[in-house]
């Protein structure tokens, strides 16, 4: 029999609904998996903290089930990245500057899932403030990849991907600014959705790049993501950029006819710098589309080559403004015994932020400052407009864009940590979706010859998350036959 911790959210829901197990039994299984892993010679370090009160919540869920008042997702556990706030819990963004911060409110997405009956299991490790692609820039130390513990799980939502892949949580929330859900999903062999900008409320997500940020979902199946989305999406009065979409009917996922779909494979994502093993997997996926009657065209979209440069100007510019609030005055950590207020600001920030965050604040202030604004920030915003127009043109002809999620398989911990540009270039296939505000899904498609997980990315038009998930579910179904 399949172990509980290996099951998908939907399988667990069925078992709970049929009363084949208790919620306490389920939550305990995940906490036990976490404890067992802590004793490992090289612990994964996916969780920063597990919530011991999850057992009490599980008891209440079991009572509700006995009473017949169970909510739709009653008792199903989930993990939450450390930059999404939960009322009464700490949230630090894996940063020294937010050490000790306890949230007085819950993020809208967390609240909606909890109101539907779900139980937060713990908060997961990440690159500080979401700035990183390897989950190494964290005050809590790096997270390891469950597939090979000497490798990075990807970042910044590396903790969320590691706990799902290792059976320490059935699903997890992560956040995306430029690939932070999809990259770890691909490195750890799970599904990772970055929804369209506006699908999920950003209220309660610690801001990094506000025109790019979005909560994402990591899970074992597309159906699990659809189930979460159906409860978490929708307009929120607390976030004026949230969209009045309706995903309540996206779960259960419908059978999708692949025949007639039009898919574009951009040559920019198959050329130099793409690992041959990954390229082969993308081509196999294209073959699967063709075999099932889809039309797959390979063509160039030259502006995609600009995405990383645009992204690493705009995201740090927005971050330099968003992170100005961490000055030790209101919340988080404060360096005391300073001569004056100015020194308190400088010491609090200099001691609180890690090196990558300082680098990005610096780049952000540089590209926004007088004399450089036009050449960098304004230029990047204009090229972003060009990129968005090109993507719109693509979707006037095609239903999907197919590409690798990452140009390389998971790499060794420490390998790129002192070479920021090399680290940034691992985001080459993901940043365009954030810039164009569209949804993208990383689909696990097996491993390279060396046994390392590979993710293939499906991108769709804005608010077409349903199409991505349905196509992935068809692929998943076929793969498991």
């Amino acid at each position: 029999m399949k172990e509980l911790i290996g099951m998908s959210l939907s399988e667990l829901k069925e078992k709970l609904d049929k009363k084949e197990m208790s919620t306490v039994e389920l939550v305990r299984a995940y906490l036990d998996a976490f404890e067992a892993d802590r004793k490992h010679e090289k612990p994964l370090n996916g969780y920063i903290e597990v919530f011991r009160d999850s057992i009490e919540k599980a008891e209440k869920a079991d009572e509700a089930r006995v009473r017949g008042s169970a909510r739709p997702l009653e008792g199903l556990p989930f993990a939450v990245k450390d930059n999404i706030v939960i009322k009464g819990k700490h949230a630090t963004c894996a940063s020294g500057v937010l050490k000790g911060f306890c949230s007085p409110y819950s993020a809208t997405v967390v609240k909606r899932l909890v109101d539907a009956g779900m139980i937060p299991l713990g908060r997961t490790n990440m690159d500080e403030f979401g700035m990183g692609s390897s989950c190494e820039y964290s005050i809590y130390g790096a997270t390891r990849n469950p597939v090979d513990r000497d490798l990075t799980p990807g970042g910044s939502s590396g903790g969320s991907a590691a706990v799902v892949a290792s059976g320490q949580a059935p699903v997890a929330l992560g956040t995306e600014t430029g690939g932070s859900v999809r990259t770890p999903a691909s490195y750890c062999g799970v599904y990772g959705l970055k929804p369209s900008y506006g699908t999920l409320s950003r209220y309660g997500v610690v801001a990094y790049g506000s025109s790019l940020d979005q909560i994402g979902i990591l899970a074992k199946t597309p159906q699990d993501i659809a189930l979460m989305l159906s409860f978490a999406a929708g307009a929120d009065p607390h976030d004026m950029t949230s969209a009045p979409t309706n995903f309540t009917n996206c779960s259960p996922l419908k059978e999708r006819d692949i025949k007639g779909l039009k898919v574009l494979l951009p040559t920019e994502f198959l050329g130099e710098g793409i690992d041959p093993g990954i390229k082969q997997k993308v081509e196999s996926f294209a073959q699967w589309f063709k075999k099932n009657g889809a039309q797959v065209d390979t063509d160039s979209v030259p502006i995609l080559q600009a995405a990383v440069a645009i992204y690493y100007i705009i995201a740090p510019a927005e971050a330099s403004s968003n992170l100005a609030r961490y000055d030790g005055v209101r919340y988080g950590n404060r360096v005391r015994q300073t001569a004056n207020l100015e020194e308190m600001y400088v010491k609090t920030r200099s001691e609180g932020f890690g090196k990558e965050v300082k680098r990005r604040i610096f780049i952000g202030n540089y590209v926004l400052s007088s004399g450089y604004y036009d050449a960098y920030y304004k230029k990047a915003m204009q090229v972003r407009t060009l990129l968005r127009r090109e993507i719109e043109k693509v979707f006037s002809k095609y239903d999907l864009i197919l590409s690798p999620t990452s140009p390389c398989p998971p790499f060794k911990l420490g390998e790129k940590v002192d070479d920021p540009l090399a680290m940034y270039l691992t985001d080459i296939c993901t940043t365009f979706s954030n810039l164009a505000l569209i949804p993208s899904l990383s689909v696990p498609v097996g491993t390279t010859g060396a046994g390392l997980p590979v993710g293939v990315q499906l991108a769709g038009n804005r608010f077409r998350e349903d199409l991505l998930l349905e196509v992935a579910a068809m692929y998943h179904k076929e793969g498991s036959r």
Binding site: M240, T241, S320, Y345, V346, A380, Q382
Partner: protein, 104 residues
């Protein structure tokens, strides 16, 4: 390459300080990143709108009415130093007086 004066000015804008050794590394790493951004020069952006326009148009607006979000006891749970309804900080009055003397 960024010169020392620009480096210090931009660090100050972010209220950040780094060690002398770190500064050299910083200059090298950030210099390479800024060089990479030069690839954007090849795109003709004459007359192109830098705003996101429709893409980020607010879709949800609240009524323009004030409401209580957090009360003082909520703030006390997360504030660094909160006394009698105020966030407290190191004294600034003396600095102000000293600066005024200098200005005069």
């Amino acid at each position: 390459m960024i010169d020392d004066k620009t480096l210090d000015e931009i660090l100050f804008l972010g209220r950040l300080d780094v060690s002398r050794e770190e500064k050299e590394k910083f200059k090298d790493q950030v210099g390479k990143i800024l060089d990479y951004f030069d690839l954007l020069k090849q795109y003709d952006t004459t007359g192109v709108d830098p705003d996101l326009g429709e893409g980020l148009k607010p879709s949800v607006l609240r009524e323009d009415k004030s409401k209580v979000t957090f009360n003082e006891s909520d703030i006390e749970t997360f504030a660094v130093d909160f006394k009698r309804g105020f966030f407290t900080v190191p004294r600034i009055v003396e600095d102000f007086l000293e600066n005024r003397d200098e200005d005069e």
